[in-house]
Amino acid sequence: MSMFAHTETNARSRLPGGKALGGLLQRLGLGGRGLVIAIPTLWLLLFFLIPFLVVAKISLSEAAIARPPYLPIWEWDDGLLNINLNFGNYLFLLEDPLYLSAYLESIKIAGISTLIALLIGYPMAYLIARSPENQRNILLMLVVLPFWTSFLLRVYAWIGFLKANGIINNFLLWTGIIDEPLIMLQTDFAVYVGIVYSYLPFMILPLYANLVKLDQSYIEASADLGARPVTTFLTVTLPLSASGIIAGCMLVFIPAVGEFVIPALLGGPDTLMIGRVLWDEFFSNRDWPIASAVAIVMLFVLVIPIMMLRKAQAVEEGAS
């Protein structure tokens, strides 16, 4: 370390005007502190925030057969600035029932999947939070472990489970419960299974973080006062874990609305989800302006869930 420091000072003293440059930067408010702040801020401005402005801009332009496949929205013409804003893409989204039903379908599928994930995830999170301390970490790791293996391959595994001559059908035929294979793959059912399966850890983790902090004495007090376990659960445990429930639900719901891989691999041709519509507009139809408009509307749809998530997370942080 000391060797590094040494060479560094040497390098600096060899640089003519290094001090003057430093002073100039300092006067511009870009001292060491400012530079440190600037690195992540500029990176994220350029590669996260500005891209959204570009999407907004292109959603207002007209599609064209060109490279890139849209017309510019402003042009200099003999010292005259021509601005052509084309709201046609948004009108088109309103007129064609395909888009509206894709948005509604996405919200419905994501909502029902979130509910199922909550029903499975809550008992699991509760059990882990109430386990002896030395077992908790192992159980938590078992929840997180599948998340570390490829998402795409985990979705793929369900094809083998759900298809006509897949594992579930073969088993049910073998036991004689059914006489002919059930059609499960390429249905909405398969999409629900895929979403619940893929996002279950996102439900369990915030629920666990909330439930593990829950003061056991409230539950004992409620039981001492003669409440039945069900009443205690409904009137004490459930309200106290509300922010954990909201955080978990939003962490499943938000990505599920825009999901592409799961409906593409497990859903049928009539499973319309907006992420898939955006993908097709972009890759198959090469209509970048419509794809951009679809993305902007999706963002507006997700504003309320995102705000709810932030609020729930703030409550959780305040509580810890």
């Binding site: 994220l44 350029l46 008992p123 078992l142 490829s150 793929y156 298809k163 897949g166 825009g258």
Partner: protein, 267 residues
Amino acid sequence: MQGKSRFLKITAFLGFAFLYAPIISLVIFSFNESKLVTVWGGFSTKWYAELFRDPQILEAAWVSAKIAFVSATLAVTVGTVASFVLIRFSKFRAKSLLSMMITAPLVMPEVIIGLSLLLLFVAMEGLIGWPGSRGVLTIIIAHATFGAAYAAVVIQSRLVDMDLSIEEAAQDLGAKPVRVFFDVTLPVIAPALVSAWLLAFTLSLDDLVVASFVSGPGASTLPMVIFSKVRLGVSPDVNALATIIIGLVSLGIIVTALHMNRSKRNL
């Protein structure tokens, strides 16, 4: 009370079975002789041999590994600086903006991140002629950006928990802020940096949607090749590939867990 805990145990057991059954079936059927993935035809390792003869898969795996390595390193760098600035610096003008930008990618649908970055790259190419062509470089930038968001979550929680008095002691002994950061803060948060790097690496290795948007004709990542194969139906060599990935991930997690256990005991 007894009935309640049995109910919990059964639900949790079914929950874990639900999480693990598909993964276990992938592994079992990767050793299946038969081409029909879900009908058992005897033990065989021929799909592994097939996998290693497929130049397209090998090439894509190499491209993915390179992208994941570089983007995870960038993600941890950006994520560390952002976390440090947000947790340790007193209020500054762009603080809430930075805080919003570092958490937003976590909840942004992948299709939107992919589309927006691609449109940015196309617009920049028109304006300043960079980045010339799309491929490995543009995928690295995209992965580093959303990887930084995940890295920041891990690193911030470690920075919050960290005992401030060691940093203050170093400062009192006359160390400059930069020196304090590299000699005191960084070694203390090193385990979190390792977890963050592994998380960013895995996310990059796993990403299909964002990479498909920002990639060019030259670069196909492993998920892109798998997706195009899987779209045509199940194929046993994908099972073999999945088993290898699951094996590597389990190995990585066991090694990290053992290492963290040991360093915890040493403290």
